[in-house]
């Protein structure tokens, strides 16, 4: 067997554990002393964006709180793949009760910790179903009371655990098992959307941010920032799902990046309801480049491409770009115009 040399190659500035970087610039994941909040050996699919997002978010939170962290998990993929009897992947204090109550359970944990005089910080976490649909009332209540909880949504845009059904976070035109590619309007409907980061901002909570698993340093920095604040906070992370999206498991990071670079998923931070920073798009891509790599949109690219549908999706991306001023350098648009 020939020995393969280690290749120090640069993948933009987003690479994880890039050995060309100075120690302080490297991700915590390359540190042998990292907390490993969710241990390896769990049963997530290959290329699972949620497992990756949760690992980075919780490791960063453990670091920020010096290990004084308790996590409340909603029912969903993350709960199921991490705790099959009799095993658990969690090396942190972890509690699961139901699908729709994680924000309220987290409130209870935070209250108990205060009463007990313990400086233990609390994170609630759920997929998009547990956040924007069934857990929405509890989440809004938690925001409104300004309970001392960071709630993290790992958004893979559907009910993947139950077999890829539509959630309120499923984008228009996407195929799911309950928005099949049949009838005059194949895929999901063009609804009004349910933009949880903006709904969170409307609650005027101290911190709202979005992130993707394509930019893990950014994700870690946002968790760090969130844990430096108190009261209700919200972090919405886009986590591609190879199973539900019909994408290659090797494409998870790439798709997350394309979602941001197309403008379909704006990456930003807001404090007390006001956007304070955005991650600018450096190389803007047309939505087709993002959509084409996913089987859930395959019907848009049949023999006769659904140009009208694609145009509507492009318009959504354009609206995001305009709303969040995602392009501050005209050269970023050059690809788009070409």
């Amino acid at each position: 067997m020939t020995r393969r040399p280690i290749r120090f190659y640069q993948v933009g500035s987003f690479a994880v554990g890039n050995r060309l970087l100075e120690d302080e610039e490297r991700t915590v994941q390359s540190d042998a002393k990292r907390t490993n909040s969710i241990d390896s050996g769990h049963r997530a699919c290959q290329g699972c964006g949620e497992a990756l997002g949760a690992r980075y978010a919780l490791d960063a939170a453990m670091r920020a709180t010096n290990g004084q962290l308790a996590v409340v998990n909603a029912t969903g993929c993350l709960e199921v793949f991490s705790t099959p009897y009799p095993e658990t992947s969690w090396r942190i204090a972890w509690l699961h009760s139901l699908f729709g109550n994680a924000p309220a359970v987290a409130t209870g944990v935070a209250a108990a910790m205060r009463v007990k005089g313990r400086d233990v910080r609390v994170i609630g976490q759920a997929g998009d179903g547990g956040t924007v649909d069934i857990g929405f009332g509890a989440l809004s209540g938690m925001f409104e009371r300004n309970d001392d909880v960071l709630f993290i949504c790992y958004d893979n845009e559907g009910y993947m655990n139950t077999g890829v059904q539509r959630s309120a976070a499923t984008p228009p035109a996407a195929r799911t098992a309950t928005t099949e590619v049949v009838g005059p309007h194949p895929g999901n409907v063009f609804g009004q959307g349910k933009d949880l980061p903006r709904i969170a901002m409307a609650h005027d909570v101290s911190y709202v941010a979005t992130a993707t698993v394509a930019d893990l340093h950014d994700l870690e920095a946002k968790v760090d920032k969130a844990m430096s604040l108190h009261g209700a906070r919200y972090l919405h992370i886009l986590v591609p799902c190879p199973l539900g999206w019909g994408s290659a498991s090797s494409d998870t990071i790439h798709l997350a990046r394309l979602a941001a670079e197309s403008g379909l998923f704006p990456v930003f931070e807001a404090e007390h309801g006001v956007v304070t920073s955005v991650t600018p798009i450096r190389r803007r891509v047309r939505v087709e480049e993002y959509l084409r790599r996913q089987k859930r949109y395959a019907h848009l690219f049949a023999t006769e491409p659904a140009t009208d549908v694609i145009a509507r999706l492009q318009a959504m991306a354009d609206a995001n770009v305009a709303r969040y001023h995602l392009v501050n350098d005209e050269t970023a648009n050059s690809d788009l115009e070409a």
Binding site: Y85, A93, W94, H96, G108, A112, V115, K116, S140
Partner: protein, 394 residues
Amino acid sequence: MLAQIEGSKAIAEAVARCRPEVVCAYPISPQTHIIEAIGVKVKSGELAPCEFINVESEFAAMSVSIGASAAGARAYTATASQGLLFMLEAVYSAAGLGLPIVMTLANRAIGAPINIWNDHSDAMAARDTGWILLFAESNQDAVDLHVQAFKLAETLSVPVMVCMDGFILTHAVEGVDLPDQENVDAFLPPYVPRQVLDPDQPVSIGAMVGPEAFEEVKYLAHLRQLDALALIPRIATEFSESFNRDAGGLVRGYRMEDAETVVIAMGSVLGTLKDAIDLRREAREKIGALGITTFRPFPEAAVADALRSATRLVVLEKAVNPGGRGVLASDVALSVPRSPLSSVIAGLGGRPITRASLEAMLARAASGDLPAVTFLDLDEAAVAAERARLADVT
């Protein structure tokens, strides 16, 4: 300390003396006066360290209680009726996780048609949740049951629901002997959780269990309920030694010594029933009553033992099992399979159960004229008219 006090306020006093650490509730009639009174105590700092959390739904109220209890705090909440149904998923979760939450259920009917008044339909929805369900006969009883409930819950790591009749008890002002703080402190030690959410000793609570172990988990919960049947009388004895009055236990008989006819009931109707029985006794009728204090786990052996020499059983209850006999009647029938039993449904949606109605019902029972299922005090004409109208339509 004797006080002339509303039932809800008495419960608030009793719960306060149990030193809860997190109280979370959502308002619903007729539970509101309880949580209002506790809310004042928490907000004024009287119960510090204790947090009172106003939430957006009963589902959240039970969920916050779950989080607080799992993180080691003594948690209390209260609800009624639709509120219990709305939180039911979390009610099961609390029991499954073995969290010793105490909840007052201010018993109220279930809609539709919407009705805010008393019956026991709500508690019936919780009968298989894995919670211990205790029924209070009076406000004194309700106060004493709450003090016992925390001890019972925390000893077994099982949640306990104390059921008290909405309005009839919660809004009735009467004399109640409120337990003194030092007596409660001596009776109820601080809560030491069996397992706790603690970053210094991290555990995963609420993990998934598949077919390979789920039945064992549920069987262990079943055994825990059987343990409760042994523990409840012991705690009642301990309570009576500490507070010099009787409360709690599994069942309580009234004039049962030579009773041939026994009426079995739960809750405040036992007061009226005892008066009716006294009157029948004056007419030399051999009649008694059996009050069910512990409805879940159902004390089959204690019920069978209490009813061993009765020849005629009447189960009087404020809940309906449409198309069948009453829920309590079914439980009693399983405990004493060979005894003839009449199921009497009464007091639904707050209809008063008067002594006169009960006397008439007891007279029918004595003459063997009580059918298998009776709805007490029906407006027969209204029912007949509606049946006739429906017959025309179909």
